[in-house]
């Protein structure tokens, strides 16, 4: 089971955090600090796996963003790497060539897409088509572009 998923930039700015087990705020901050320090300090082309306390850590860099997750001791690292990749693919499909800015400005979307894919730290739906469909379906429930532009800025 995945314990947490973090997205952070090369400068160590946290862009998304998802916790699948309850942790108090102080512990969360420590995890984030340790992960960014550890992962950002790795030389390029190192292997994608680490041990941290009793967890396995799997991370991968996509452009300017690091995707990093903590796994239980028995979990499959290679597959976790593909969980990260599938998430990137889903973001890509939704935003069209996703970049860090998309995730900053549409952070709530990034969370929604993640929720369609993972739940309670387990993979819920691995089919890209199905996930994408359900995200689009929920977008259909939303406003049109004209509505968007006519909204007040404050």
């Amino acid at each position: 089971m995945m314990r947490f998923l973090l997205l952070f930039s090369r400068q160590g700015k946290l862009r998304l955090q998802k916790w699948f087990t309850p942790l108090v705020e102080r512990e969360r901050k420590k995890v984030v600090r340790d992960m960014t320090l550890m992962v950002l300090g790795r030389p390029p082309r190192s292997c994608n796996f680490l041990h941290w306390k009793d967890l396995k850590v799997v991370y991968k860099r996509y452009a300017s963003l690091y995707f990093c997750c903590g796994l239980d001791d028995k979990d499959n690292e290679l597959l976790a790497l593909e969980v990260l990749h599938r998430y990137v693919e889903l973001l890509d499909k939704y935003f069209g060539n996703v970049c860090e800015l998309d995730i900053i400005f549409n952070f709530e979307k990034a969370y929604f897409i993640l929720d369609e894919f993972l739940m309670g730290g387990e993979v819920q739906e691995t089919s890209k088509v199905t996930v994408a469909k359900s995200i689009e379906a929920s977008d259909m429930l939303q406003e049109t572009m004209e509505e968007y532009m006519s909204k007040p800025a404050f």
């Binding site: 030389p43 041990h51 009793d54 001791d73 290679l78 597959l79 593909e82 387990e122 977008d139 939303q142």
Partner: protein
Amino acid sequence: MPAVSKGDGMRGLAVFISDIRNCKSKEAEIKRINKELANIRSKFKGDKALDGYSKKKYVCKLLFIFLLGHDIDFGHMEAVNLLSSNKYTEKQIGYLFISVLVNSNSDLIRLINNAIKNDLSSRNPTFMNLALHCIANVGSREMAEAFAADIPRILVAGDTMDSVKQSAALCLLRLNRTSPDLVPMGEWTSRVVHLLNDQHLGVVTAATSLITTLAQKNPEEFKTSVSLAVARLSRIVTSASTDLQDYTYYFVPAPWLSVKLLRLLQCYPPPEDAAIRGRLSECLETILNKAQEPPKSKKVQHSNAKNAVLFEAISLIIHHDSEPTLLVRACNQLGQFLQHRETNLRYLALESMCTLASSEFSHEAVKTHIETVINALKTERDVSVRQRAVDLLYAMCDRSNVQQIVAEMLNYLETADYSIREEIVLKVAILAEKYAVDYTWYVDTILNLIRIAGDYVSEEVWYRVIQIVINRDDVQGYAAKTVFEALQAPACHENLVKVGGYILGEFGNLIAGDPRSSPLVQFNLLHSKFHLCSVPSRALLLSTYIKFINLFPEVKGTIQEVLRSDSQLRNADVELQQRAVEYLRLSCIASTDILATVLEEMPPFPERESSILAKLKRKKGPGMVPDIEEGRKDKNVNGGMEPISTNATTKSTPSPSTDLLSLGSSPALSSAPPSSSAGGLLVDVFTENHAPAAPGVPMGPVADDNFSRFVCKNNGVLFENQLVQIGLKSEFRQNLGRMYIFFGNKTSTQFLNFSSSVICQDSLKTQLSIHIKPADPTVDGGAQLQQILNIECVSDFVEAPVLSIQFRYGGTLQNIAVKLPITLNKFFQPTEMTSQDFFQRWKQLSSPQQEVQKIFKAKHSMDTEVTKAKIIGFGVALLDRVDPNPSNFVGAGVIHTKTTQVGCLLRLEPNTQAQMYRLTLRTSRDTVSQRLCELLSDQF
């Protein structure tokens, strides 16, 4: 501004985010945030009712601010309001806010639960999914209480949409993890298991996760999932890469589901049904074969997914540990990966081999890769890969290769990353101790360790070397010589000074014959380091000096001179000053005899779990250091091999603190053993005063009321009447034991002609040898008399010896006879082992005379923790997670007698409904099984 704005972009939010991004400084950002917070607060408080959109926008802004790392203390109510909106997007943001900013405010939880309840019963799949996600994200106990009953119903209902089923399965899984007591499966079990047959692969994937977690806790109930999982797996691995459509990932059919099915199967032993077993073997072979096929794609995703399945299959093969051909193939496959150009694969191969190394079947096969692994240690660029190589070397180490492996680790230590040095030091220390064939090599290795990485040598490591040197007299002279030589180096690490000081203080006399290491030379050498050391080390050296005064009267003058100097007697540090004053005084006033008694050589340390091992376990977290301790130690269980280094075997003697030098506490002549008057070594009192078998002593009825209370513990009150209280304190190690008996005179009158003896009847005389030291013939009123019993177990025995005491109280002769709780189980050494080892041994001990079973009614309440404590107290290692049924208890240990060792396995199966237990004992000797069963069954 965002590159794309799909769906319901909120303009105000986008503006705010770009404002924040444009802030040049942290202060500016905080200012902008405070402005926004004030704005939102005023909107929320304002008279005008906010429309849904504005509410959503502000809640979303608050969420953004929170995710930036700022505290949010309002807005929860508005978020809860959004939950009951009819608009999907508003509801969605409401749920997101609740999920991220969980607040255990009970009023709100009630409102949130209400909203969730409405959505769950809405029959709108999107709303149901949102609600289920919220439950899974928050996962609090209150939520579990509210919904644990509803979710299984949604999961198995015939009309539930697939996507909702998936969410329900995982939501249930989440609740089961946090509040397992609230999620009773019972009636749902078989319908949940049958989800494995579902048409929709997404549903099967989610259900497999759920079933795996439930099966880990309750394997028996989910046993039927095995055949379904094998069938499903078989269909996947034999399918063409396009059959599964969208569930094929880069030409690999359903990798997630495959891995989950393989994980599920790891909750169980190999299937008993030959057909299912065969089908599973075929699957595993197919997976192994596919690894040899050329890749269908050059993309890394393809090879990752394919290898993920392969590694999981190998884990299952290792878990089953039953098919030698598959094990060998797995080992070969991992061997190939060890040299793969992908760093990730090398890393994983090293990791998997660690578990393979702990299997008895494949340990030898793993050892053939030693050169590759050593090479990895030397050449890998990535520190985390090198660390796995260290782990694997540690796991594959045994007596045949320990010298090579330790040498390589020491080599590596010189250039190793600072972050992993301490761990390597611990590992070297453990291996050197555990597999030492020759203790001179051990001493050399540890001194080398201190030389190379002195700063990383923790106290536990150098404490341990001293414990070992003190416990083995064959190495003491060598140790003294070696530390003496090592101390010659102009700059040596302080840890070496400590070890050197301690060892020379104890055993310097063994090398004092050589004029090159005469007492004075030894003293001058140590004292030359004195001023460079920290306070604790100086304190230790002062103790060494006073020990020197006892060992070498000829240097007394020189040492007294040193102690008398102002820098000692008036030292600013109170500890040093006190030691100097007291030692000086002691050396002046005490006679040689008293000095010799006070400063006697240290008695052997009680055997206990290596404190180094404990430290390594702490460092790595529990469960990360299983290999050498649990995996292969089982050889001892059959009593075939005598362990050479008993020091490393685990023993749950309540150990005194690891601070063996008691530095920093009062000076207390730390080296004088508390029980020195009792004669130090267990064996050296055996020559004294054999307790008379006393056949003529008149014996009244033998009291045994409290006897059974001592089966699982060692201390307590054995007997009490109006006159006298008899207390016991005992300790056992291997086949030896020592018992302290305390006779308390409860009256105000003196007991006269007090005498005590221990009587062994009939065959017990040859099975147990007991020596008692004579006690004072008088016990004053209100006083306590202590008597020491030394016990040796010669062979296994059934009866208990009887303690008989006589004394005169107020003119009448009192006779008391009490059964002494010296029982066979006292001579247990606990043995840790893995589940597979346990059941393998279990099967080997299956002949009828080896097994004794008893089914009996519980006499006490059936409390798990109490039962655990009793089993541990009984002397065996309580093996956690070994029995597939978690409510059963299993244990393993070895009975040590002088003539033989008997490995014992036990299993206790409680049935809480019937208030009954079934206890099964299997040992290689029928009399032992019988006796242990009698003893233990009486305890529950």
